[in-house]
């Protein structure tokens, strides 16, 4: 398990915004594809283990990212409507 965990884990204290969003994208992509695999292979313990670990990492880094740079979904509570401040994915720069 360790190699999977180390693969995407990164202490994000000193990482840039771009590095953080790239990690978020990598984790989301991995979780989506693992989910599709698990739909037809629900008994695969190794895949479940990877899925669980990536979900945990994603939650941690998404919480940190959204606190610093604003919401990635409308389910993130804000004191003002920061949804309008963050760039849209189709715009260049692509945060």
């Amino acid at each position: 398990m360790m190699e999977y965990q180390e693969g995407l884990r990164n202490n994000c204290e000193n990482t840039t915004r771009e590095e953080m969003i790239n990690q978020i994208k990598s984790l989301k992509f991995s979780i989506i594809e693992l989910g599709l695999y698990l739909d037809t292979h629900p008994e695969d313990k190794k895949a479940i283990c990877m899925h669980k670990e990536y979900c945990k990492q994603l939650k941690d880094i998404e919480d940190k990212y959204q606190k610093m740079y604003g919401p990635l979904t409308i389910y993130w509570p804000c004191n003002k409507w920061r949804w309008l401040e963050t760039p849209w994915p189709w715009e260049r720069g692509n945060y």
Binding site: I21, N22, I24, K25, K28, F29, I32, G35, L36, D39, T40, P42, P71, L72, T73, I74, Y75, W83, T86, W88, P89, W90, R92, G93, N94
Partner: protein, 137 residues
């Protein structure tokens, strides 16, 4: 229900516009085998699936196809962003520009708007899964 995630499933950052390429890529957005057809095909067929695995896989692939739709739309948008009417015309997109400007419209490369006649939903799991094989070929 769905939740929008304000990121692309895979990053896209096109540096140079290329309307000629956009003219072909738009078929992957709204053409007969494009992403809108793929997502609606799977998300509609899922209601007729008999077991948990089949329901889950069509639900989750149909969802992922919506993320692909956004990626292909982004490619078309970035390939045509800021392009002049004259340039669009020169690259074979004069007719497109007339109706859609620089908007991203779900159509095939030849100009036909997306049409549900390009997908099948038969309420029969074997027939539907066969159609999925053909569509993904």
């Amino acid at each position: 229900m769905w939740t929008y995630n304000k990121v692309l499933e895979y990053p896209i950052n096109i540096k140079c516009s290329n309307p000629k390429l956009a003219k072909f890529i738009i078929s992957q957005y709204g053409g007969p085998d494009g992403e809108i057809g793929a997502s609606l095909r799977y998300l509609s067929q899922r209601f007729g699936m008999p077991d948990q695995k089949a329901k889950a896989i069509l639900n989750d692939i149909g969802t992922e196809e919506l993320a692909h739709l956004e990626m292909v739309g982004t490619i078309v948008h970035q390939l045509t962003d800021g392009v002049s009417a004259e340039e669009m015309e020169k690259m074979g997109l004069g007719a497109y520009y007339t109706d859609h400007g620089l908007g991203v419209y779900p159509q095939a490369a030849a100009g036909w708007p997306w049409n549900a006649a390009t997908i099948a939903v038969k309420g029969d799991p074997i027939a539907d899964l066969q159609e999925d094989l053909a569509a993904d070929k």
